[in-house]
């Protein structure tokens, strides 16, 4: 193939071109097609499944497994097949290190929401496995909030629910992604509101969730009001007033405005 008469640079260029031409097709088809993503967005899971079946790389295998969970009709066989596919992905040493944690995450999700009557301990263990193995991966960081949710909302007496809050406050999970940080603080905010609304940690977690900037239309409004209400209950009038006023300024059409105005009137000296 190579002539000793060709300059070295030309030989190198030829070699690089040869290598690139063999790798490029794999790179080009590594990602899910825009059509498949659109189909998923439109809840056309069966159509999307047919589209992703054309490729066998890790991303497509993961997508195919997830689509098995939602394609119609929903059957136990499909769920079992999805589990098997995800387990293969997780166990395969050739699986991309980026995607293997996602396979573990979704295996935990199957136990959490896709199967009925899964023992809570089994789901907790599945999330914990992911967190132990890949603590800084985004999937593991999301798993932190789900593990927290499972633990804090497990049926228990009121006092035990309160005690769990204190127990999990002592943990220091790795949370670097925006989604994971928001989810973690939001779960704590919701749990404190229900189990220990007088605790100062309610305001702290609510404030942190707010600072991370929730994107759903009403979520920021909700958190502003919760911050205001918890401040009001604690007697922290300045914080309550600031939060109520921010709500009124930010949400000109929110149906809760008259209630917020009433709260502000009550706070006035």
């Amino acid at each position: 193939m190579f002539s000793y008469d060709l300059p070295v640079a030309a030989k190198s260029l030829a070699l690089i071109t040869l290598l690139a031409s063999s790798v490029a097709p794999a790179l080009l088809s590594a990602h899910l097609s825009p059509d498949a993503l659109e189909a998923v967005q439109q809840l056309r899971f069966n159509d999307a499944a047919a589209m992703v079946a054309t490729e066998q790389n890790d991303e497509h295998r993961l997508a195919a497994a997830l689509l098995l969970l939602s394609r119609q009709p929903r059957t136990r066989t499909n769920i079992n097949s999805a589990q098997a596919a995800l387990q293969d992905l997780a166990a395969d040493p050739n699986t991309s290190p980026e995607l293997r944690p996602w396979a573990l995450y979704h295996l935990a999700r199957i136990l959490h929401w896709h199967l009925d009557h899964t023992p809570r301990a089994a789901t907790l263990a599945a999330y914990q496995r992911l967190i132990d193995r890949y603590p800084i991966h985004p999937a593991a960081q999301l798993a932190q909030s789900r593990r927290l949710l499972l633990a804090l909302f497990a049926p228990a007496a009121a006092e035990e629910s309160k005690a769990r809050l204190a127990q999990f406050e002592k943990e220091a999970p790795v949370l670097t992604t925006r989604d994971a940080r928001y989810a973690y603080h939001y779960v704590f905010s919701e749990a404190y509101q229900r189990f220990s609304p007088e605790a100062p940690e309610l305001a702290e977690h609510t404030r942190r969730a707010l600072a991370i900037a929730p994107m759903t239309p009403t979520k920021r409004a909700d958190l502003l009001i919760r911050l205001a209400e918890s401040a009001r209950a604690r007697g922290d009038v300045p914080t309550a007033r600031t939060s109520y006023e921010e709500f009124l300024q930010s949400y000109p059409r929110q149906v809760r405005r008259p209630l917020v105005k009433k709260r502000l009137e009550e706070l006035s000296p």
């Binding site: 899910l32 939602s70 995607l99 999700r109 949400y251 809760r256 209630l259």
Partner: protein, 528 residues
């Protein structure tokens, strides 16, 4: 000559006529198709079910006005009767022949159908509406120009987390009075201004009817008429629960929150605020005609128009037809509700309820539209403050856009956007708590609305059926929510794999919504 054409065989004459008609039809279709597909002309079609007087006419006017501004755009209106609209809608969508804009509503509109066939508008509504230039709404996002901020449940799909339609009207409910009969009974024409005066009117009407031996219903009501009123009566007496109880710390509670508190024993139908809700419903409902929940809307309207009822409550959408049909003087006024000054029914009341639900004239943009940008622009045009005023003037609908003029004829229906919300929506109609609703209203309404039996008799009758009904509703809610969570799991799981930044925001929004639903589900399962 006369004899000559008589010799032409009638069969041949028929064939010639048929051929001529076929030719005309072909020519029209060809011309229309040419116009649609002509490179120079863009044709936008919009479909709806509002055949009421004034609506189709103003849609045509606005379509023509749009063409005046954009000469290369033709806008065609398609009006389909409401009875066949749902079937027509599905056929058009599945057949790929749907118009660019369609009223979204009716039976059988599932999330799958919406997600598959309609374009989300959430991004589009964050920018200002250019057709509001030169008005106070100029700098406002398109979203905030609507009286509900596009948050009404008909407009924003909570499960898909998207705005899918834009609405043009706000239906509001008022009391309509037969003023002639009113004067005969009451001796004056001062409409009831308080809840107490409303109840007095009902009592006097019943007495008068007995004394005169004439049929005179205090309130003509079918389920269509009664449910909004019963809902409002129940809701207004639970308002203070939003500020008295910490709940979720959101100054907001759902029926699910309330029912879980009933399940936990923290709320009871025998104690305020829920007992207060029932007593208000009972105070008015006992004056409804027997069997009202099974009565047809048209029957009760007929009773009223025939002069056999002194009042009825219904929406602004009935004003024009009642005005046309009623042979008596028709008066319209607010529905007198319990307020904080009422001597018997003030507990729990903070003030009037808000009227912000945009529900009429909702248009969604179909994915199959060949000109989505133009169709969206037409939607902006329709919902500018000027054009929404124009639409309201002709249709006599209440406009949905902030600052749009409410026509003089329907000033009485001007919505109150600043009312105090209420937590209890159970009696608004069938929702997630269908079994509870049926138990409390359908099965035992004779006791609830009895003029002789106390509320306790009703509560005793309901007691044995209520808990199984509540559990059935909660289990169904849990199942449906789990199904939605699973679906979102697949979507966000796959969007996570998408390389393009355009999916990142969408993925975050869905994840945050999903988390909220997981928490609600976990809280529900915590109590089951």
């Amino acid at each position: 000559m006369k004899l000559a054409w008589r010799r032409i065989p009638t069969g041949l004459l028929g064939l010639v006529m048929l051929a001529a008609l076929y030719g005309i039809a072909t020519l029209r279709i060809t011309r229309q198709s040419y116009q649609e597909h002509s490179g120079d002309t863009v044709t936008i079609r919009f479909a709806h079910w509002n055949l009421e007087t004034g609506v189709r006419e103003v849609y045509d006017e606005l379509a023509a006005a749009y063409t005046d501004l954009h000469p290369h755009v033709r806008v065609e209106q398609i009006a389909i009767p409401s009875r066949v609209f749902p079937a027509w809608l599905r056929t058009q969508l599945i057949g790929g022949t749907a118009p660019d804009l369609i009223t979204l509503g009716g039976q059988g509109i599932t999330d799958e159908l919406i997600a598959r066939h309609f374009l989300p508008l959430s991004s589009a509504v964050e920018s200002p509406n250019p057709y509001n230039r030169g008005t106070p709404l100029e700098a406002m996002s398109w979203r905030d120009t609507f009286i509900d901020g596009l948050t009404s449940h008909h407009i924003f799909n909570e499960r898909l987390q998207e705005v899918y339609s834009i609405g043009l009207g706000v239906p509001t409910f008022r009391a309509y009075y037969n003023l002639d009969l009113f004067r005969e009974i009451m001796g004056h024409e001062r409409l009831p201004a308080t809840f107490g005066e409303l109840l007095t009117l009902c009592e006097r009407t019943a007495e008068w009817s007995r004394a005169q031996r004439r049929t005179a219903l205090p309130i003509a009501a079918s389920s269509h008429h009664a449910l909004p009123l019963l809902h409002a009566l129940a809701a207004v007496r639970t308002q203070s629960h939003l500020i008295d109880q910490p709940g979720r710390g959101l100054l907001m509670l759902t029926d699910e929150d309330l029912m879980i508190d009933v399940l936990r024993g923290r709320l009871s139908w025998r104690e305020p605020p829920l007992s207060d809700a029932l007593t208000a419903m009972q105070a008015v409902g006992r004056w409804f005609p027997p069997g009202f929940l099974q009565a047809q809307r048209e029957d009760m309207t007929f009773q009223f128009v025939q002069g056999r009822a002194v009042m009825m409550t219904t929406g602004s959408f009935d004003l024009r037809s009642l005005r046309t049909q009623a042979p008596f003087r028709l008066a319209v006024g607010p529905i007198p509700m319990p307020d904080s000054a009422d001597p018997d029914f003030s507990r729990g009341v903070l003030g009037a309820l808000p009227e912000v639900a945009v529900g009429s004239g909702r248009f969604a943009l179909t994915r199959g539209s060949r000109h989505p940008a133009t169709a969206l622009d037409f939607l902006r045009f329709l919902s500018s403050v000027e054009n929404n005023s124009r639409f309201a003037a002709s249709s006599e609908w209440i406009p949905a856009v902030v600052g749009a003029r409410v026509p003089d004829a329907v000033q009485a229906f001007t919505p109150n956007p600043d009312g105090f919300p209420a937590p209890l929506n159970l009696f608004a109609g069938l929702g997630p708590f269908a079994d509870v609703f049926r138990t409390m209203l359908n099965q035992h309404s004779d006791l609830l609305f009895s003029r002789t039996r106390p509320l306790e008799a009703y509560l005793d009758a309901v007691a044995s059926d209520f808990t199984p009904a509540l559990n059935a509703d909660l289990e169904r809610m849990a199942r449906n929510r789990r199904a939605n969570l699973r679906r979102i799991d697949t979507i966000v799981g796959i969007l996570e794999l998408a390389p393009a930044a355009e999916w990142a925001d969408r993925s975050t929004i869905l994840r945050q919504s999903q988390l909220g639903q997981e928490i609600s589900q976990s809280w529900l399962e915590y109590h089951q």
